[in-house]
């Protein structure tokens, strides 16, 4: 049995906006095992970034409400992060759990030398001298394979290219050897060749430090190569989760299938019409009572719009929330391997 390092229970996040309260995350439960890579996949606005920021305690407190009807919990090694004080969170953030962001230009401080930014996180979490921290920073830059690390240490972010900045940010995040790394779209802003370099680097460091990684992304190609498990989010809920193979070859939720078939494969014929989802995700200020995907779903039934489906478990890892898997549902017309197990 794998050891769970993080467990999120019944997490809901709402934001108070001028237009009303937006229910960005609406009750998600998930876990993360030691050393594994969990990918959270979904379109913009589905709540994947909000979920990861909630774990880090990075949401603006004044406008945010975290919790659920039965109370939310984010258990890190058994301790609830939501009950921690700001000081306690500061001690965890950056040392036990770290995060890297999509845009390395806006996430690095433009007025600080790269070396000092890496040393900063070391100094906050360890009682060592600045000189030693800088020495460690140099080691980190070498670890993320930045050439001429000693010179680069004294440079500013603007002197770095996009790929190098992302490397520098990884160095900042990993300086204290965290147990969990949350990577929020780490390669979206980068070119494919650089993307491959960065994903390789994250993978190597993950093994070296035995970290668990939460990879937040919309790029299914990246997910296929690195993730152990995947969870698919839609409109603030997790609609399906499973191992990489289960999601790619035996997905049971229509949304997952739609997402997978809307990317062109290198082998599909050119100019063939791509599967495309009609419509757009719902407005989360007034979230629907039933399944949020129902209006866009080609298999939508009357019950889908009225009542949220229960979660059906197919295997140790795979679960899906969809009415199609109810014993009474009409399975005619569904793709062959979509319904399984629970008949």
């Amino acid at each position: 049995m794998d050891e769970k390092i993080l467990e999120v229970r019944n997490l809901s996040v709402s934001f108070h906006t001028y237009a009303g309260t937006s229910h960005a995350v609406r009750g998600v439960d998930f876990y993360l095992n030691k050393g594994e890579t969990l990918a959270i996949v979904g379109e913009s606005g589905c709540g994947k970034t909000v979920t990861s920021k909630a774990i880090m305690g990075l949401l603006p407190m004044e406008q945010t409400e975290i919790g659920g009807s039965e109370g939310a919990e984010i258990l890190f090694n058994g301790e609830d992060l939501l009950k921690k004080s700001e000081n306690e969170m500061t001690a965890i953030r950056g040392s036990k759990i770290s995060m890297i962001f999509q845009d390395p230009m806006t996430s690095l401080n433009p007025t600080m030398r790269i070396g000092e930014q890496i040393a900063e996180s070391i100094l906050i979490h360890n009682e060592i001298s600045k000189a030693d921290a800088l020495k460690k920073a140099l080691e980190m830059l070498e670890m993320v394979k930045i050439p001429n690390a000693a010179q680069r240490l004294k440079q500013y972010p603007f002197e770095f290219s996009g790929g190098m900045r992302q490397r520098a940010m990884i160095a900042v995040a990993l300086a204290c050897r965290p147990e969990i790394l949350i990577a929020d779209e780490p390669t979206t802003a980068l070119d494919v060749t650089i993307q491959a370099q960065i994903m390789d680097l994250i993978g190597e460091l993950q093994k070296e430090l035995n970290m668990a990684v939460i990879l937040v992304t919309h790029d299914l190609g990246v997910v296929a190569s690195v993730a152990d498990r995947i969870q698919v989010m839609y409109a603030g809920k997790i609609v399906e989760r499973g191992s990489v193979d289960e999601i790619f070859y035996q997905s049971t939720h229509p949304y997952t299938r739609a997402l997978l078939s809307s990317v062109p494969k290198i082998h599909t014929n050119n100019k063939e019409t791509l599967y495309s989802l009609k419509g757009t995700p719902p407005d989360l200020i007034h979230p629907p009572t039933g399944c949020a995907f129902a209006p866009r779903c080609e298999y939508g039934m009357r019950i889908c719009r009225n009542k949220y489906p229960e979660t059906v478990k197919f295997s140790e890892t795979q679960e899906c929330s969809c009415w199609l898997h109810h014993p009474k549902a009409d399975h005619s017309g569904l793709p062959e391997n979509m319904v399984r197990g629970n008949r």
Binding site: E43, S44, P147, S161, G162, G163, M164, D191, V192, T193, I194, Q195, A196, Q197, D200, H218, D219, L220, G221, V222, V223, A224, S225, V244, D245, F248, A258, L259, L260, S262, V263, P264, K265, I266, T268, N270, K271, E272, T273, L274, Y275, S276, L277, T280
Partner: protein, 324 residues
């Protein structure tokens, strides 16, 4: 297509930018290609390779430093004001960022109608009808016509941008990363729309993007750019199945495949380092510094595009020796 008619011919196109004393950024440095009527030419490459500058220079949005762009046989960089206006009626561009390319103070109807007014194509009732027709064509409805851009999602805005480009019934559209800012499911919608419109109206596209699998999907032929040079040029199937240039090989092999089994079997050709600066580039092959096959000769002499197989052009001195 039995007989291919050339719509655009780009000859030795150069676009340099002065970025300081004796500092010249060679964004596009001697590029040649043709675009046939009714086809889609894809242009791929990493950021900074000059693909967008190339597209904008082809459109005449940048004056060319050297070379010519022939549109239906006429060099567009030598046009007078009146001829230029006529050219813009026949060629349009769709921009990458659907947020900054629409005027926030204009309604959708005015954004789409602006081109119609400038060229005096339709007036009054007819103009209104045309706008509604265009909205319908790109999958928006008529209630949308009086709204402002901020009321739309990214995908919808990109549709407005497409409707604007189509409003004056152009023959040629430069699509500059039209889907990069959009979500996967919305990307599919926009790409399907572009393909459908091409078939309906026999449009010609220059499709610029860094998403290699989308480019393959939409293009008939694809050119790969590296630091202002075209390094390989072929039909899209050939280019993706049998790339010959070492850079193209590395690029193709780093496309992530959305299939875990294939992804595990795939052999990736790693590419060390990053794209060098295009400011005062060194002579010789631009890729030589990162190429594992590079020899002495590669650093002296810039390789030109050669037809290695029918319709397959490669700019590499050693392509025959490297093989597949």
């Amino acid at each position: 297509m039995a007989e291919k008619q050339t719509l655009i011919e780009v000859r030795d196109l150069k676009k340099y930018f002065k970025v300081g004393k004796k500092q010249i950024l060679k964004a596009v440095d001697g590029v040649n290609f043709k675009i046939y009527k009714g086809e889609t030419l894809g242009l791929v490459g990493e950021s900074g390779c000059g693909k967008t500058t190339c597209g904008k220079t082809v459109m005449g949005l940048y004056p060319a430093t050297g070379g010519q762009v022939f549109f239906d046989g006429v060099d567009i960089h030598g046009l007078n004001k009146k001829e230029k206006k006529e050219f813009t009626r026949r060629a349009q561009i769709i921009f990458q960022d659907p947020y900054s390319s629409l005027n926030p103070r204009m309604t959708v109807a005015d954004i789409i109608g602006e081109g119609i007014d400038i060229h005096g194509l339709y007036k009054g009732e007819e103009r209104k009808e045309k706008i509604l027709e265009l909205l319908d064509l790109v999958g928006l409805n008529k209630e949308h016509s009086l709204r402002f851009p901020h009321e739309f999602s990214g995908g919808q805005r990109q549709r407005i941008g497409i409707a604007r480009a189509l409003a004056i019934e152009p023959e040629f559209i430069v699509c500059d990363e039209p889907i990069s800012a959009l979500d996967v499911s919305i990307q599919a919608q926009v790409v399907n729309l572009l393909i459908e419109l091409q078939e309906k109206k026999n449009l010609t596209y220059l499709f610029i993007a860094h998403d290699l699998s989308m480019v393959k999907h939409i293009s008939d032929r694809v050119g790969v750019m590296y630091l202002g040079n075209m390094v390989e040029f072929a039909t899209s199937d050939v280019l993706y199945d049998r790339p010959l240039h070492p850079y193209t090989k590395a690029l193709m092999s780093s496309i992530p495949i959305p299939d875990p089994k294939e992804e595990k079997q795939k052999r990736r050709i790693p590419l060390e380092g990053e794209i060098p600066s295009p400011i005062n580039p060194k002579p010789g092959c631009r890729f030589a510094a990162r190429c594992k096959y590079a020899t002495e000769a590669c650093t002296h002499e810039t390789p030109g595009l050669r037809e290695v197989e029918p319709e397959h052009f490669v700019a590499c001195h050693r392509v025959e020796e490297i093989g597949e």
